[in-house]
């Protein structure tokens, strides 16, 4: 339980920082009072929704990443790298066009991308899996662009902001809904914790330990799809968060794989920090949070490849 407590404390501190930081810094007392008086504009309208959404989406993506990495035993196979996020975006745009439920569209899109990658990359090794995923993701985002081109101008402006992964339009209702979803996912994880703890051990060992593998796969992939869809719906396609959260959580807190809850907490920490950074670096222009996340995540991917190479050398 220790890593979870450590990371929860870190998240608490970051949330507090995120509430007090911005164009104008607030002293802790002001933050505290602002939280309890709904009239406080800076806290209640500007910062609280953003921060709450960052925490909820970070939890969802961190958990989804850790689940996916554990199931595939591939540190690179996370929803953002293998095209699930892009698939969800495509589903989002299509659902908007068809007038269907956006969440349904996102779920279908993410599931479709997932199955496409699995079908394409059968038994061709972990890196091929990821490259196919990247191809599927690129295809999905290109298709998103095409559909977007035909949309009315107002939609385009709105969607471009969303597609860059921005928290600027956050509202408490979305954050609350996403939070509810994350809590449900957390309960499912606790319920199946027995089996989920054996992720990363490989099919043979898992079956030997009495895990019903098809059921577990279905559970994990379902959870990943829904969590990715929910998070993407709320904050747009944010890359590299799911990818970095789990390994970073393990490195920082010393948790053992699969480290599902630490990864979720680390995801929330990362997204909150990235959002705060986006607000601090450029207070006047809206620097998308997704961009900051890429600036954190892409160097980590480079570092990961570098250390992998050193290991094999």
């Amino acid at each position: 339980m220790k890593p979870v407590i450590k990371l929860s404390l870190a998240l608490g501190c970051l949330v507090f920082l995120a509430l007090s930081g911005g164009r104008d810094w607030l002293v802790p007392a002001d933050v505290w009072h602002g939280l309890w008086s709904t009239e406080n504009f800076v806290i209640h309208v500007l910062r609280l929704p953003r921060t709450a959404l960052a925490v909820a989406a970070g939890l969802a993506l961190g958990l989804a990443g850790a689940l996916m990495q554990g199931l595939t035993r591939n540190p690179l196979a996370t929803p953002d790298v293998i095209g699930l996020v892009q698939g969800a975006s495509l589903g989002h745009i299509m659902a908007l066009g068809l007038g269907a439920s956006v969440f349904l569209g996102e779920t279908v899109g993410a599931a479709f991308a997932l199955f496409a990658v699995i079908a394409l990359a059968r038994e061709q090794g972990p890196i091929a899996f990821v490259l196919y995923g990247i191809g599927v993701g690129a295809t999905a985002s290109a298709a998103t662009t095409v559909i977007l081109l035909r949309a009315p101008d107002a939609t385009i402006t709105q969607m471009m902001l969303w597609l860059s992964g921005s928290l600027a339009r956050a509202d408490l209702a979305t954050a609350g809904a996403l939070f509810g979803g994350v809590v449900c996912a957390g309960l499912i994880v606790l319920w199946r914790a027995r089996e989920l703890r054996t992720l990363w051990l490989g099919d043979d060992v898992m079956i030997g330990l009495g895990v019903h593998l098809p059921l577990l796969r279905f559970t994990v992939l379902g959870l990943v799809t829904l969590l990715t869809a929910g998070a993407t719906l709320a904050v747009g396609p944010i890359g590299f968060l799911a990818f970095t959260a789990a390994p970073l959580a393990r490195a920082v807190s010393g948790a053992e794989p699969p480290a599902l809850f630490p990864a979720a907490l680390m995801g929330a920490c990362l997204l909150t920090a990235a959002d705060l950074a986006a607000r601090l670096i450029a207070p006047l222009v809206t620097l998308p949070t997704g961009l900051i996340m890429t600036l954190i995540g892409a160097p980590y991917l480079i570092f990961f490849l570098w250390s992998e190479k050193r290991k094999t050398a």
Binding site: L120, Q124, L131, G135, A138, T145, P288, I302
Partner: protein, 338 residues
């Protein structure tokens, strides 16, 4: 393509026929690009050129031809050098490195000359290539069937990082946004600003590059083989890398970081050329040029009165192209494993 089915080297006649066909295709695409644009104009008005439209379209088309050919050739040379059909200046992050360097230069020295931008971009391309080599180079075992799959993966990491940094730099400054937001998504320029020098450099390099083909073909037999046949392999690598970085730098200086064109065009060109690198080179020139001219024209037409950047149109093909090349590359490996 009878040359492919019976496995023989293509005859001289059918090679010439194919080349002429591709050149005719390029002429057709050029004509399309001159005729159609974001503004629907009658042919008569266009020829009288009261609006100055024809001139701007001509400049634009020339840019697209040069950049398209440059991207195709740098992709082809990279692939021949690394023996990896997945190497493309976009996917490997070389173009993105060039773009980042160009943006950094523009940030600190806003009105640099075309040559300065080109040199900075080439430097950035070289640096990205160096980083890539350290991340994925000399690693023949990890991929299936001798193809190092790490290369595109490491390249994508570099590409994402460089583009994110460049975008962040652009977004933090209002003037930079006005000047470069269009450029970073891969757009062919409309009016000449600083593009003349890079265009000249591309033309020279495209001709010069042809003469490295023989060296590259020798190198593909192995470094020792190449040395024993009288060609210093290190010099070949240096020449080709210089060529690739300069081409990439020049094309980025003109039209921003375009991805995937250098993956798809060489793939098709090598398929047509059936084994000969020099023929693939000659095929890739008109193919790359036509592809980008066509992408640019389509981008101007489909969202009238607005305009979709050629880079976005090109990347529409990117994802499917990556999947297709991967399938091609990995399929024989699967047979070997079974």
């Amino acid at each position: 393509m009878p040359a492919k089915t019976n496995g023989n080297v293509m005859s001289r006649a059918s090679f010439a026929f194919n080349l002429v066909l591709l050149c005719l295709g390029l002429c057709f695409c050029t004509a399309l690009s001159l005729r159609f644009g974001a503004a629907p104009v009658t042919l008569e008005a266009l020829l009288n050129d009261t609006l100055g439209l024809l001139e701007s379209r001509m400049f634009r088309t020339v840019c697209a031809i040069c950049v398209g050919a440059a991207l195709a050739i740098s992709g082809l040379m990279l692939q021949a050098l690394t023996g990896n059909p997945l190497a493309d200046p976009g996917i490997t992050g070389i173009n993105a490195g060039a773009a980042l360097a160009a943006i950094v230069l523009a940030y600190f020295a806003p009105f640099s000359s075309g040559m300065a931008i080109l040199l900075a971009a080439s430097l950035g391309a070289g640096f990205a290539g160096y980083l890539l080599w350290h991340l994925a180079g000399a690693d023949p075992v990890s991929g299936a069937g001798g193809i190092a799959l790490r290369l595109p993966l490491a390249g994508l990491a570099i590409e994402t990082l460089c583009l994110a940094l460049a975008t962040a730099l652009i977004l933090t400054d209002a003037e930079m946004q006005a000047r470069y937001l269009r450029w970073i998504s891969g757009a062919i320029p409309v009016v000449a600003r600083t593009e003349i020098a890079p265009l000249a450099v591309i033309s020279v390099l495209l001709v010069a590059g042809y003469f490295t083909c023989e060296r590259l073909e020798l190198l593909s037999l192995g470094a020792e083989q190449s040395a024993s046949l009288g060609r210093n392999p290190n010099r070949t690598i240096a020449l080709v890398l210089a060529c690739v970085t300069m081409l990439s730098g020049a094309s980025v200086a003109i039209a921003g970081p375009l991805a995937f064109l250098g993956l798809l065009v060489p793939f098709v060109a090598r398929g047509l050329a059936a084994g000969s690198l020099r023929r693939a080179y000659l095929f890739a020139l008109p193919l790359g040029a036509s592809a980008l001219v066509l992408a640019d024209t389509i981008g101007r037409v489909i969202a009238r009165p607005g305009e979709v950047h050629a880079g976005i149109i090109a990347s529409l093909l990117g994802g499917p192209a990556l999947i297709m090349v991967l399938r091609r590359v990995l399929r024989p490996a699967r047979w070997h494993a079974a």
